[in-house]
Symmetry: C2
Subunit: 265 residues, 2 copies
C-alpha cells in the first residue's frame, strides 16, 4: 500500500502558521514524523495560508524546506497551474503531481508535465461537469484517463486514478459508488494503473473522522485501492491498513505482523 | 447486519465453569450483556465443559436457563446430532441451527429439521473432503446448498450460507478465497440467502484477535456478508460493523450514527 502523507497542508493550523512565519522546524518535524510512521510520499499543499499571489513562492519555500531535511518524494498538491509548475521546478527527486481532472485539455497538459518531470500523476475522475453521481460516468472518465496516458506514453505504473471520495455526511450513496467503480476498474489495463483516494474527504464535517477514514480505507482496499492520501500518524488507520494487507495475503503472517510491516518500510 | 452472539460457549472458561456448576447467573448475565450490545441471536454451545454423554443434558440446561431470562432467538451450536435435537426440542421460539455441512445426506436431514422447527439453518460450504482450498469448490457447495433448500421448500431468507473462515496464521490465502467466494455468490438466488461467517476463526492462535476480527468483518461485509457469529461485547468490532453499514448506505448519516444504530436495536 502506498501512503501519501497528507499533513504538510496549510489548511492544518500548525502548518499554515509555519508557512506564514517561515518556521522550518515545524515543517521538517512533520516530514520526519510522517516518514517514520510509514509515508511513502509527502503531500505538499500551501492551502489558504497565504494570498493567491504568494502561493507559488510559498510552495517553493515548502519544497525547499522539506528537501533540506529529506530526499523522500513529494506530491505537489495544488489546483493552480502556476503553483504546480513552481513546485515541480523546485523538486530534486521525481515527484507526484496532485492532481489533474479528466477534462481532456487539462489532462493532456498534465500528462505532458508528468513526462517532463518524470513524475507520477494523480488524475481525478471528474471534469467540467463536476464529480459524477454514478458509477458509469466515473468509469468512463477513468477509461479516458487510461487512454490519454497510453497515447501520450505515460507508463501506467506512474498513473494514479482517483475515483473521488465525497463526504459521507453530504452525499451518502457516493461511498458505495466509489467502491463499485473501484471494483469495475480492476483489470482496466496491464500493468494496472494505481488507484488512489484522498481518503479524509469521506469524513469531512463528521465527528468520527478517524473511524470513518479507517473503515472506508479497508473497504476500498478490499475493492482494489492500492494508494491513499492519508494521515500516517493516525496509528489506528495504519494498523487497519496493515491488517488489510495481511488478509489480502500481501504480507506473510507472523504474530508481530504490525511491527514487521512497519520495520519493512 | 445480523449478529449471532458467540459468548455462550463452553469453550470460554467462565461459561464452561458455569455449565459444570449449574451457575445460572453467569449464563443469564452473558445473555443480557450480549443482547444489550446488539446481538440478534444468542449462540448456545456446550463446548468441552462436560463429557460426551452429558452434552445433550447440558444443552437443554443451557437453553432453559437462557429462556428463563429472555425470549431472544437461540442458535443451537453443536456438531453432534443428538445434542442438536435435544437443544431444538427445548427451544420456545424459532431457533437457528448451527450448523450442517454440505454433504448431501446431512444437508437433507438438517433442512428437514429446520422445516420441522421453523428454524434458520446455517450450512457450511464444506463436505466429507473438508474445507475446500479454492473459490470454485466453495461456490459449487454453496450452489448445492441453495438447490437443496429450494427443492425441500426451505425459504432462502431462513438459509445462512457460511463460506468458512480459516485462521490466517494457518492458511493465509484462505481469507482472500472467502472474500472472492462471497463476491461471486452474490445474486445466486432471489431473494438472496444470507451469508454468515464464524468470524473469530480468522484470528485463532493469533495475538491481535480483536483487530483481525474487525478488519476481516469489514472486508467481508464489503463483499456481501450480512451476518456474523461474533462477540457483540467487542465495542471496536461493533463500531467497525456499524460504520461499514453506514458507508454501505444502510443507515442514514447523523453525527451520532453509532449511538443511533445501537438504539435502533
Amino acid at each position: 500500500m502506498i501512503i501519501v502523507g497528507e499533513r504538510l497542508n496549510g489548511q492544518f493550523s500548525d502548518v499554515g502558521k509555519a508557512i506564514q512565519t517561515k518556521d522550518k522546524k515545524v515543517i521538517q518535524d512533520l516530514a520526519f514524523e510522517q516518514l517514520e510512521s510509514g509515508a511513502d510520499y509527502l503531500d505538499v499543499n500551501v492551502g489558504t495560508a497565504v494570498a493567491a499571489a504568494e502561493k507559488a513562492e510559498a510552495m517553493v519555500w515548502l519544497v525547499e524546506t522539506i528537501q533540506e531535511a529529506t530526499d523522500a518524494p513529494l506530491a505537489i498538491d495544488t489546483p493552480i497551474d502556476a503553483v504546480m509548475r513552481a513546485g515541480l521546478s523546485a523538486v530534486k527527486n521525481p515527484p507526484m503531481i496532485n492532481s489533474t481532472n479528466a477534462d481532456p485539455e487539462q489532462l493532456a497538459a498534465y500528462i505532458d508535465l508528468a513526462l517532463q518531470y518524470d513524475a507520477d500523476l494523480i488524475a481525478l475522475t471528474m471534469d467540467k461537469g463536476g464529480v459524477p453521481n454514478d458509477v458509469a460516468k466515473r468509469i468512463e472518465l477513468g477509461a479516458n484517463i487510461v487512454v490519454a496516458a497510453m497515447e501520450a506514453g505515460l507508463p501506467f505504473e506512474k498513473l494514479y486514478i482517483d475515483l473521488v471520495a465525497i463526504p459521507v455526511g453530504a452525499a451518502q450513496p457516493q461511498a458505495g459508488i466509489v467502491l463499485e467503480a473501484l471494483r469495475q476498474m480492476q483489470g482496466v489495463a496491464d500493468p494496472s494503473p494505481h488507484f488512489i483516494l484522498g481518503l479524509s474527504n469521506i469524513s469531512q464535517s463528521t465527528v468520527e473522522r478517524s473511524l470513518l477514514n479507517r473503515i472506508f480505507l479497508v473497504m476500498c482496499m478490499t475493492c482494489g485501492l492500492d494508494a491513499a492520501i492519508a494521515d500516517p500518524m493516525d496509528t489506528e488507520l495504519m494498523d487497519a491498513m496493515i491488517t488489510t494487507e495481511l488478509l489480502l495475503n500481501r504480507q506473510i503472517y507472523s504474530h508481530s505482523f504490525l511491527a514487521a510491516y512497519r520495520s519493512s518500510k
